[in-house]
Amino acid sequence: MNTGSPRFFSDLAKTVLVGNRTYTIWMLALIAVSMLGLNAFSRQLAHGLYTTGMGDEVSWGLYISNFAFLVGMAAAAVMMVIPAYVFKDEEIHKVVIFTELWAVAALIMCLLFVTADIGRPDRLWHMFPVIGVFNWPMSMLTWDVLVLNGYLFLNLYVCGYVLYKKYTGQKLVARHYVPIVFLAIAWAPLIHTITAFLFQGLGARPFWHSGLIAPRFLASAFSAGPAFIILVFKIMEHFKCCTIHEKVIAKIRVIVTVSLLVNLLLFGSELFTELYSGSEHSIHLSFLLGFHGESVLAPWIWSAVVLNIIAAIILLLPVRENPRFLNVACVMIVVGIWVEKGLGFVISGFIPTPLGDFVQYQPSLNELTVCFGIFAFGLLIYTALLKIAVPIINGQLCHRKNHN
């Protein structure tokens, strides 16, 4: 038996390229949307960020919102990795790789969103250590670049190692990858904490300048991420890609529930401090909630709060055992947290401006297209990764099998 590496890649390519009808249509649709996104991004490169809805008042918009949300989704993989590796939960261990692959896809989207947000992507090399000027450790953004790329690398390594070994039918050697898994466990909360620090370290923006931001980021991520994973598992089952053990879903559900409750608690605590004291500090929040003149964000944020509360109620009642209700609750959580973090957190930090100017932000069509393109591209990558990973983990795609 040779090392199997040339075959490895050609086998993977074949697996990704060939699939049943549903798969082909899904992938073609994702490619089409990604292309539309690329087209919109080219337009943005050609005419500047003027093609977005951002301005000097609201100077970060949907790109950074999605970035903050997706960093959380990537970090959330750890909530499956911990039970799998630390508490040695066998059922979860079997499927943990699917969540690690999700972290990879989410991180790729994060990096794309940052690139889309930058005014001069041609100068990105200015940020590379050695050839550029890297303002480390002063700038939190440089920290974020380091931890995000590090986390991407760790996850790629673990996934690549496990899949390759399973494919070649070799035994997994614990000391070759388990230490990396543990490093990734420590690393995951870091990526989201540092992303929170990007915002909470800014004294100029009272809305973000709160010690609760990082814990809230983590709590919301640890509920939205696993909720999304439940949905992915359900979809995979629906299309008969594989069966996931009921126990796994039940365990993830507990994680989602606890995190959601913690998130609601932290949110409530912040709401109380800001609104009860009625200090100047609270102006962003009262504007966001629509108490301070007309706000385009208000209907969004109220729906997010309602979605999260209903989801929490579903998860606490016995109906949670009903797969339909569980699915609905998971969708509510993912959408609710996306709104809360993206629109509610990032954008409201800019309204009003430090000089008290209330300027509304409405993303442009081009900007939305770029966002959809990046999401489609991320899902494209994730689907392709799953397409490879499922048969390998199942033992259907392996080196030996193709040769005998």
Partner: protein
Amino acid sequence: MSTEDQKNLGLKNEDQQEPVISRRYFLAGTACLSVATAVSLSPLLNAEEVPSGDDFIQKHYKELSDEEKKEIFARLEARIDKQYGVSTSISDPQPMDGVEFAYVLNLGRCIGCRKCVYACMKENNQSRSPQKQYIRVLKMKKGTINLETSSHDYPEKEASSEDFFYMPVSCQQCREPKCIEVCPVKATWKEKDGIVVVDYNWCIGCRYCEAACPYHARRFNFAKPQLPAEELNPDMGYLSNRPRYMGVMEKCTFCLHKTRRGEYPACMEVCPTGARKFGNIRDPESEVRKIIEQERVFVLKQEVGTLPKFYYTFAK
């Protein structure tokens, strides 16, 4: 692996056939994808600004040798000449020893006429479309200093009203500038004379500094700056008012191309009421130093700890 193993994994896959892929299908797919990519990228053909090779590899301002600076300035001058038909000279005055600039603004005198806003725009070659202004004059009800109820886009006729006072705000040239701490590439820094500048050729346009500034003092070129040739100010400084690029940050530089030669900034020269005073805070004889020592001055948002060198006072 056997079916036994599969059961243990708890996974089953019903789609078991060996993947097959024909050469034709593969080639056709690749061709379609390339065409689609090319079409998607086509808006790049109309790009409004394409960096030249020299622009692309240009180093950080502080790493440039005198020779390299000379070359770069000549290149920029030629480009401006070609684009605007105006011959210019780009200067690069250095901070003077023993000089630290400060500003004092007398709110008791300011009438909110906004002449400074436009003089600044002309002096500093800001984009006219979309319009970029460094100075924002806030109209405030007497009896409060509440930024949230102030307005900056009041109609002309509401200037010099008895019921309001007017507070111009621009970059406060902080001693502890939050904007430069956060920049991931050190494209913005504080010079020896206290002026915070931006290297327009090094900024990557992340806008982190804009989020970090407590005074809304930074301006970003979301669009390609538009400036009619006849309005171009040919007296240019490399770190101040030379024409900017699309996608980079800019801000007030205390008109360093003037002030480092001993002139006053444009906003002060134009002010009809004498509300503005500018000078060297390290010189005990300077007007600004005397006002700061003898009158009651305050800084805006002292609580954010940026230690501005822009002082306000309510005097006669």
